[in-house]
Symmetry: none
Subunit: 443 residues, 2 copies
């Protein structure tokens, strides 16, 4: 404990300077920084906000700039570079040593949708050999410069490796003289830098965490992702999925903030694809034109039959896409889903087929609409509905699996896409059933 | 670093068990739970869904049941009790200690989907006349009994009325001898007990809060809703909306935990409604049977034209329903949406109509498919597509307004419902355009 004293007083010099930093002129900042001994200067630099770090580094003479930039951890250097004016960035990256340069370049390249792009590098850290009272004082000082709320303090080893975690509440509850290493939790749930933000949101939600640390392959902490970022991610991802399921590209912006041109463009793409796909119905029907000419009544039931398949497909695809997004259904469960949706599709088809058959027979009784072969027609409609509805459920459920298997977003299996697929195949099913049942009578 | 190894495996144990949980038999669940060390068991219990928590607790031997139930925060205990079979509830309530029992009983009286049903009754409270050091000591003592993490301390008057709030970080930063009343924020955002959970989620997400206090009509604090509860609410509400937009009732349970009978029932309702609605297409087409008999080629384009309207309607309804759920589009903006969607619909219709016209003319050039009146047919298809796509966009956008106006859930304006509406009207549009353009030639 005794050798902690000088550090404490030294640190509070730095603390005072940090408090006053914002009020100083750039020239004054440079002078005060130059007066500090090396250890204090390191502490000061590390205590500054990222924009303040960037401003200070750029103001330093080139020789010193190299020294101090190299002193920063790669993630901090990356943050600083990201906050520097764009025209200065390449020059700053050049100042780094080879290893750090590649690390920083990697950090700068984090995909925005991944842990690395979402994480915050300002988190509360303590050392394992601190005592509780010391850790609390230390955190109290850290809180000045750290803008995010503090939920957990991460216990880091000399190489920034994540050794444990302790919640703020636990720190408050623990006796002052207890060692952090004795009360910290060693089983820290952490996520890799490349984890997708949707997956992180799931982890945080499932485990009821307020924040999760992001670690590299060496177990070193790179940052934390906090629950308030996750709330935004969840809403964003749900919006994206909903818009895709509706048969369009995700807008990325709120409805009113999307320009008219963008609104039309994001919808036109899929509409054109679906229209081209649906053209196959015209091709398919041209092949059955002779049948229609012989029995025009067959045309009357086309929309009813093919739309039933589309509706049942829309339900199935919606269910499976959402269940996949929530992690409830996984890729290896294809066969289980296949069986379940086939059974559900047949059951639903039987219900609708019965209604369809009743409709035909009832109209025949009431208006004599369908002539002498009405019951054969009723049978054709009923059987087609069963087959098309079951096929719709299957196609709707399996399309997300196929998309996911080939690394596409399962949510692209939109209700309209499934409906289009089922429209084309539904026509073929209907006319084949008709040819089989009505050959020699109506056809 | 060496002692990091066992942690990694321990952590993934709980995660793996959580993932596999629903596939385990009840007896297996009990065995696996009994094998866990206490900390892992706590993590598992807290990671389970509420119905799974209820099932596990009921399966435990009575002595253990008491221990684990008492480990839950009052709001979580209330949730579990609500999800237990009705005949077991009284018995579970009996297991609680006196204080928690009265809290839970009060909570059980609230509607599940409202602030009162979502809130936690254990929150950090301080008095306005405390000094910072005293408040911190006081909170440290409170933390012992309060299981939830502490983000904010609420400043309460003698009648429990909410006077202000101060964040934990601010408390840590303030000088020890400052009075709470001098540093607290007086403009506290609070919500009434009856506010819908979706609205609360929106408030918390929009304002980047970690918790929001729930107050009664007299301004007295009743509990707090925390951001981690909101994460679950957001996911739940998105799932409900997605399933409704897919044309079915919301499942309420994960896909695999929904029984086959329930799965079919929740889908059959809307499918039957849609099927009955789609029967109007058969009625409409019967009126145009004579036209089809004269020009069978007209039938060939029916699926193409009506599905374009359904697709454009699906996009519009999806956009508007989601924008309403996020509070981006409000009821009084009906006319603005009307104009925008009409314009977008016409633009999209023009794109598709051009493609449709090209298709007809191309087939005519290549195969001579459509005889001497091909260009008139092409015009009929193009004009119908423009009208049907524009009408689809309008109908899809306005249906959620109509539903909301009459107090239905806008998300019931599902893609399949809009498609059905547009199919029927699309047929009427198509045949009227055909009669107008083709009278005297094909018709």
């Amino acid at each position: 404990m005794s050798d902690a004293q000088p550090q404490t007083s030294q640190r509070s010099d730095v603390d005072q300077l940090l408090d006053a930093w914002r009020t100083l002129e750039p020239q004054e900042q440079l002078e005060r920084f130059a007066q500090l001994d090396r250890e204090s200067a390191v502490q000061l630099l590390q205590g500054l906000t990222v924009p303040a770090q960037a401003a200070l580094l750029i103001a330093l003479p080139p020789g010193e700039r190299r020294i101090w930039l190299r002193l920063l951890a790669p993630d901090d250097a990356a943050d600083v570079i990201q906050h520097a004016p764009p025209e200065r960035r390449a020059e700053l990256i050049e100042l780094l040593d080879d290893i750090t340069r590649s690390e920083v370049t990697a950090l700068l390249a984090y995909v925005e949708d991944e842990a690395g792009g979402l994480m915050n590098t300002r988190f509360a850290r303590v050392r394992p050999d601190m005592r509780v009272a010391e850790a609390l004082r230390y955190l109290r000082r850290q809180a000045v410069e750290r803008t995010e709320a503090i939920y957990y303090a991460y216990v880091l080893g000399p190489e920034q490796e994540l050794m444990g975690v302790i919640s703020f509440k636990e720190l408050l509850l623990a006796p002052d003289d207890q060692l952090i290493v004795d009360i910290m939790h060693r089983d820290v749930l952490s996520v890799p830098e490349t984890m997708d933000q949707e997956e992180i949101a799931r982890v945080i939600a499932q485990r009821n965490l307020l924040a999760v640390p992001v670690v590299d392959s060496g177990g070193r902490i790179k940052g934390i992702v906090t629950i308030d970022d996750v709330v935004d991610v969840l809403a964003e991802e749900a919006t994206e999925d909903i818009q895709k399921l509706g048969g369009m590209e995700a807008l990325d912006l709120p409805y009113w903030r999307t320009s008219f041109v963008t609104l039309v463009r994001k919808r036109a793409g899929w509409l054109v694809v679906l229209f081209l796909g649906e053209m196959l119905t015209a091709t398919a029907m041209a092949r059955f034109e002779a049948d229609i000419a012989r029995a025009v009544v067959l045309a009357v039931f086309i929309p009813l039959i093919i739309s039933s398949g589309g509706n049942s497909g829309s339900q199935a695809t919606t269910l499976v896409v959402r269940a996949m997004a929530l992690g409830e259904v996984r890729l290896h469960e294809l066969f289980r889903v296949f069986r379940r949706e086939l059974a559900a599709g047949v059951a639903l088809g039987a219900i609708l087929g019965t209604i369809g058959m009743t409709r035909v027979m009832l109209w025949q009784q009431l208006f004599g609409s369908y002539g002498e072969h009405a019951s054969l027609l009723a049978m054709t409609v009923a059987l087609s509905v069963v087959a098309v509805v079951a096929w719709g459920a299957l196609a709707g459920a399996l399309l997300p699996f196929a998309l996911r298997r080939f690394k596409f977003d399962p949510a692209s299996a939109s209700a309209p896409l499934v409906a289009t697929l089922v429209d084309v195949s539904g026509l073929v099913i209907y006319f084949n059933v008709a040819q089989w049942l009505l050959r020699g009578t109506l056809l």
